[in-house]
Symmetry: C2
Subunit: 88 residues, 2 copies
DNA sequence: ACATGATATAGTAAATTTACTACGCTTAAC
DNA sequence: GTTAAGCGTAGTAAATTTACTATATCATGT
């Protein structure tokens, strides 16, 4: 009654939430409060245990002021390269 | 058991799906088949009766080769202006 | 040692999304 | 005038998401 069964075991969706939170020093609890969901809900999303609603996706994107595609992806994110980190 | 109760009556999310389908001459049935959901599911989404999963959002975006933000929005879309339509 | 904050696990319950079936209504094609 | 396609409405059932509680671990700070 929890994990996406469509894809057996693989995450329903990948996310950069842990990295983005780390960068901005915001905890799951704080993010949860800012988007109006339960803390554990953020946990489930970060672990890829399910795909959030688009609605929630937009609220999270608003907190980080980033497009949804920068935070979530159906495929794993690549590690950031030099140009991303130095402002190419 | 159907509509978003969080926001009483307002659509959970707005979408340009009807316009995009019209532009490309694709029916709900065809879109549904292409993203792998039931026809009625597309109907519900187009009527704003609920907010699809981010997962499904990505699949729909892939069909149109557009970013999610171009297809869905928490706020109503404005009508396209001249520059959008003439290639500004 | 103790308290605290952050995260993980487990389990239950409620809400929302998705699937499916059946019908009614229009419009276009024949 | 019948057929078929496309869309809307209704209703039920299944699956997934979200809420919430409790407990455990780990790291930090005092």
């Amino acid at each position: 009654m929890k994990k996406s069964s469509r894809n057996g075991d693989r995450p329903a969706l990948y996310t950069r939430l842990p990295m983005l939170r780390a960068e901005r020093g915001i905890s799951r609890k704080e993010l949860a409060e800012r988007v109006g969901v339960h803390v554990q809900t953020i946990g489930y999303i970060e672990r890829g245990e399910y795909s959030p609603s688009l609605d929630l996706g937009f609220r999270i994107a608003a907190v980080f002021e980033l497009p949804i595609e920068a935070i979530f992806s159906p495929q794993p994110f690549a590690t950031l390269d030099a140009s991303a980190l130095t402002g190419g």
